[in-house]
Amino acid sequence: MAKTTSQDSQATKSTTQAVKPVTMAAALNSAMRDALTEDPTVVIFGEDVGPLGGVFRITDGLTRDFGEERVWDSPLAESGIIGTAIGMAMYGLRPIVEMQFDAFSYPAFEQIVSHVAKMRNRTRGRVSLPIVIRIPTSGGIGGVEHHSDSSEAYWTHTPGLTVVTPSNPTDAYSMLREAIASDDPVIFLEPKSHYWMKEGVADQSRPALPMNKAAVVREGTDVTLLSYGPTVAVALKTAKLAEEEDLSVEVIDLRSLSPFDDETVGASVRKTSRAAVIHEAAQFGGYGAEVAARVTEREFYHLAAPILRITGADIPFPAPLLEKYYLPTPERILNALSTWEWEV
């Protein structure tokens, strides 16, 4: 008899006994290692994820330690990877698949948007697809064309998908564990410029913040910077520079792009009455437009100024030697904030 999809996640709810991660890459690796150990239905496949450990080495050592029937190299075809992951999830496995780079996820667009996102709704909740689609995302590493896209708006615009992105190793571990344990499909965006950042060390003393919650990563009173993934670090730098100008900046790491944590963001905006959203993706029709619109709808009477978007320009992601002109910087953010009228 065919197995059915487990409604009960076998993965642990406690995510705090992790091996102390040093880099985001190591944290992600630990999360998958722990999930593979605890749940026999977890499998990993994709391009080069086997003996090579992925082009970013995120799956390093997993084929060696868990065998080829748990972690293996697939043929080089992204629609095929997602399409077969759907079938595996229907059978009762919990596949984790890797899209090698952001822009290489596009061949899988149809499978993700037409099936991954819709299967549960289509079948009235009878078939859920517990698939994690890991996508190294965004720029900042001098990648050649197609290696630096920020594709989040495509996914957040699709009902049925959960879209999250960690900005530090602690979150990378706990959020990936929670994504694997989720019965819903999760687009897991990994800021590739942060893979090898070593300053982030997991704080094992406190319980992990749930994946669907935003985090106030720096408190302030004058402005709320809404950031996620690679722009959290940029927002924090901005906040530090702003101190010199006597501007108190609160920084929020959204973490979950869909669902959106209206509560945490709303509380912050009601306190500061000013907000700006920062992302690498192009501005027009981007994720920041949704953030600005929904915060405006809900908090308009608490706002002292229009919500700003400091984003990539509405141009294709530039060639590596030109990307520094495209990516949002603390200077650009401070300049944008200075366009507000500050007299109250």
């Binding site: 629609s79 399409g83 496995l93 709704n121």
Partner: protein, 375 residues
């Protein structure tokens, strides 16, 4: 265990003559032309006959009710019964089917109740049945996407040492899609227990097969994937049943995937909104009607004395019961609950969705006759 088969055993091109066991005139193909296969036992042939007759009656009734407006659309499989019913009759209950929109009679023959099956075409929900209960995936509309789901499902079964097989239907037009290539390739590399049944009904809506491929046969592609390929008379239920049975057995016992091209013909329009007079002549349709899958099997069974009045009578009763049940199911007003629209999108409730649900509820409460008024 490794998924990958590194033996790379060569496979041969299929015979360009469609494999057949019972000719269009209803005679057994001579033993020397049967390529070593025997005809299925008479009780199997009677089962195929019964199922095809009942399925056609059901299909005809759905088409009629669609014309009356009870369903929003229906792609008929009339003329393709041998491929559809031959395939599902070869399957075990524990095997899984990954069908397309064309394959309603196959899904129905697998036991999915009419009202649940036609939910999508009537328009009350996208998929009305429980795929796990009937081991039948939802019918897909995006072409060839289901072939990859089948491969993944079969691969998961293989990894779990579960000796089942998976069958999936693909149309001739869908073989031009990239997902068909990826499905064949993944299945070959992983030796997934998947049987691909290509129903070459010769038209993708209006576009004939010559505009889809320059290949001699669609089944010729199998060689390129290291997969056995077969070219079968898709209007010969005995031939389809025989080749699909063998392929499913091979899949269940570790022999990997098979690609089977069934040459058939779509007698009806693509759907009720299609106009075939713009792209094909009635002479072609008549020529294919002469190769009808049901008539030929009936003639063969008759020649063997395996079809008497009592059998015909019981099939006729079953057909009418199916048609009546179908009419009743579609004439009953479907239960529609707009609040359910928000129920199944995620496994847990999202506040933003609940807000939208409550807004709709309030809207409906304010104007209880809103739905009637808009009609």
């Amino acid at each position: 265990m490794s998924l990958t088969d590194e033996s790379r055993a060569p496979v041969e091109l299929p015979d360009p003559e469609p494999f057949s066991l019972i000719s269009a005139s209803g005679k057994a193909v001579p033993a020397k032309a049967r390529r070593g296969y025997n005809l299925p036992d008479l009780d199997i042939l009677q089962k195929l006959y019964r199922r095809m007759v009942v399925a056609r009656r059901w299909d005809t009734q759905v088409t009629a009710l669609t014309r009356q407006g009870r369903l929003s659309t229906y792609p008929s499989a009339r003329g393709q019964e041998a491929s559809e019913i031959g395939t599902v009759t070869a399957m075990r209950e524990t095997d899984w089917l990954f069908p397309t929109y064309r394959d309603s009679i196959a899904v129905w023959t697998r036991g999915v109740p009419t009202a649940e099956l036609l939910s999508g075409f009537r328009g009350d929900w996208h998929c009305g049945w429980d795929p796990k209960m009937h081991r039948t995936a939802p019918q897909t509309t995006p072409l060839a996407t289901q072939a990859l789901h089948a491969v993944g499902f079969g691969t998961a079964a293989k990894l779990s040492k579960d000796p089942i097989a998976v069958a999936t239907f693909i149309g001739d037009g869908a073989t031009s899609e990239g997902d068909t290539h990826e499905a064949f390739n993944f299945a070959g590399v992983w030796q997934s227990p998947t049987v691909f049944v290509i129903q070459n009904n010769q038209f993708a809506i209006s576009v004939p097969i010559a505009k889809q491929t320059r290949a001699r046969l669609l089944a010729d592609r199998a060689v390129g994937y290291g997969i056995p390929g077969y070219f079968v008379d898709g209007n010969d239920a005995a031939a389809v049943y025989t080749i699909v049975s063998e392929a499913l057995d091979r899949a269940r016992t570790g022999g990997g995937p098979t690609i089977i091209e069934c040459l058939t013909y779509r007698i009806e329009p693509h759907t009720n909104s299609d106009d075939p007079s713009r792209y094909r002549g009635s002479a072609d349709v008549e020529a294919w009607k002469a190769k009808d899958p049901i008539e030929r099997l009936e003639r063969y069974l008759d020649s063997k004395g395996a079809i008497d009045e009592a059998l015909k009578e019981s099939i006729a009763i079953e057909s009418e019961e199916a048609a009546t049940a179908m009419r009743e199911a579609m004439n009953a007003e479907p239960a529609l609950d707009p609040m359910e629209l928000f129920e199944h999108v995620y496994s847990s409730r999202r506040p933003a969705l609940l807000e939208q649900r409550d807004a709709l509820a309030a809207e409906l409460a304010d104007s209880p006759n809103a739905e009637e008024a808009s009609e």
